[in-house]
């Protein structure tokens, strides 16, 4: 069974709906036991890193996710889920999981310009991804495909090997990161139309 982790960080309806649309059953759960029993794991989330990590620690889900990673289960991080698997977040100065070493940094409003125009923070809307490393979950994704982003912070892995794709928004940042059985996107693939559903389907079939 595919489980979607529920840790009071946003609405999980859309991820579950997208899975159901492409023909996969899932269980939305906040039980550590269900996570350890699952076949694969989706770790979504919107909101702030500080309260998300507090909630994950309080419920013991942090160690369940870390254990599931060590057991080799495929894990898909989405948005905030992608940020909290990093080492540390500048948002609320929050220590995070550290599955991927590196920081989660804030977009700097004063530096964010494109062709001289001030960019808005958060980065909200459709943007493209430059694939840096081939990956089974990225199979079938085209150069002109775009994805839906909503975020003010972005992951910055220490090891460039962990950067699978980048996106330009004033700066170039890691929008897809991955390591062993973990694959994570800063964008919302459940809200990114056809290419997002394709990646979700690729993930559901992925055997790391």
């Amino acid at each position: 069974m595919i489980v979607i982790i529920d840790y009071s960080a946003g609405n999980l309806t859309s991820v579950a709906q997208a899975l159901s649309h492409i023909g996969f059953q899932c269980l939305v759960t906040s039980e550590a036991g269900e996570i350890l029993k699952s076949e694969r794991i989706i770790f979504p989330g919107v909101g702030a890193a500080g309260s998300a990590m507090a909630s994950l620690k309080r419920t013991g889900l942090d160690s369940a996710i870390a254990d599931a990673f060590r057991m080799g289960k495929p894990i898909l991080g989405i948005c905030l889920g992608t940020q909290v698997i990093m080492g540390h977040s500048e948002e609320n100065d929050t220590p995070c999981f550290g599955i991927i070493d590196g920081l989660v940094r804030a977009f700097q409003a004063e530096k964010a310009t494109e062709n001289g125009n001030r960019l808005k923070i958060p980065h909200m809307g459709w943007n493209s991804v430059v694939i840096k490393k081939e990956h089974p979950v990225l199979s079938g994704i085209r150069r002109d495909d775009e994805f839906y982003f909503v975020h003010g912070f972005y992951p910055d892995p220490d090891n460039s090997e962990h950067v699978l794709g980048t996106t330009n928004y004033g700066i170039s940042f890691a929008s897809v990161v991955g390591f062993e059985n973990l694959f994570a996107t800063q964008f919302h693939l459940e809200k990114s139309g056809r290419p997002g559903l394709r990646m979700l389907e690729n993930f559901c079939k992925w055997k790391p």
Binding site: G10, N11, T13, S14, Q17, A18, S20, H21, V46, G47, A48, A109, E114, L119, K120, I121, P122, H123, M124, G125, W126, N127, S128, R142, D144, D145, E146, Y148, V150, N168, Y169, H188, E190, K191, S192, G193, R194, P195, G196, L197
Partner: protein, 259 residues
């Protein structure tokens, strides 16, 4: 580089779309779910539903629409109209909407913006603003005033001041509707849009007045808007989202071209 968003707007009353829409294909023109799916499949970047159901007893019909839309389209969509409390927001968001839009309820009670942002995150909260040009006055230094009730009630609030206040209270986006331009199909209110969008950090969706693809180009460039709302120009079959995007792309506006 971020694309400019093209956002069809559907008015829904008691679960049915209200405008007489000329679709050629096998689409139930009264069904907001089918229409949303049609726009999703033909390149819309986001969809806005505006619930104009008058009686509050029939509002739950909209929740059912939202639930069905969420199972049919996989792009963001927002719901506005009749949202007066954090509880109203929760119902709509749990049914699967990405964002809620609050307008007159926020003017009457600005706290609802911060309460909503705290409960669900700023990215969920769109501040809808209906604005009329009234000329510069002591209490309206920008010359643009906030109105409610479809433009019938003047609130004595400066539109620019309200936009900045809304952002500070936690709105994640502004949907800026010019009552003067609305329904004219002669173009967006560029001066108003540029003034507001240039003064806030959050994205601004321009609304009201779209009649041709050139109007969208103008508001997305000169008007500094991040997104453009469209209604009758696509509902009546004059243009498709794809045609509008091709025009924008060939005129140097970055749009999403693959869907």
């Amino acid at each position: 580089m971020l694309s400019k968003r093209i956002i069809p707007c559907l008015d829904v009353r008691e679960g049915k779309t209200t405008k007489g829409i000329k679709f050629k294909d096998n689409i139930d023109i009264g069904d907001p779910v089918e229409m949303a799916r049609f726009y999703y499949e033909t390149g819309a970047d986001e969809i806005v539903f505006y619930d104009i159901t008058a009686s509050s007893e029939k509002r739950d019909i909209m929740i059912d629409v939202v639930r069905r839309v969420a199972g049919s389209i996989f792009i963001p969509f927002s719901v506005g109209g009749g949202i007066r409390s954090v509880d109203d927001m929760r119902k709509v968001l749990l049914a699967g909407a990405e964002k809620v839009s609050i307008n007159s309820a926020a003017v009457k009670n600005p706290d609802i913006i911060s309460k909503g942002a705290k409960a669900f995150g700023s990215q969920c909260i769109v501040l809808g603003m209906d604005v009329k040009h009234v000329g510069v006055k002591d209490n309206i230094p920008s010359g643009y005033e906030i109105v409610i009730n479809g433009g019938r009630t003047y609130m004595g609030i400066d539109a620019l001041k309200w936009a900045i206040e809304g952002q500070e209270l936690g709105a994640g986006e502004i949907c800026l509707n010019s009552i003067d331009a609305d329904g004219t199909t002669t173009g967006y209110e560029l001066k108003l849009t540029s003034l507001i969008s240039g003064s806030v950090e959050i994205p601004v969706i321009a609304s009201g007045g779209a009649g041709t693809p050139e109007h969208l180009k103008d508001v997305l460039t000169k008007g500094k808007a991040d997104a453009a709302l469209i209604a009758s120009m696509i509902h009546y079959g004059n243009y498709t989202v794809g045609q509008i995007k091709s025009y924008l792309a060939s005129n140097g506006v970055k749009v999403r071209k693959s869907w």
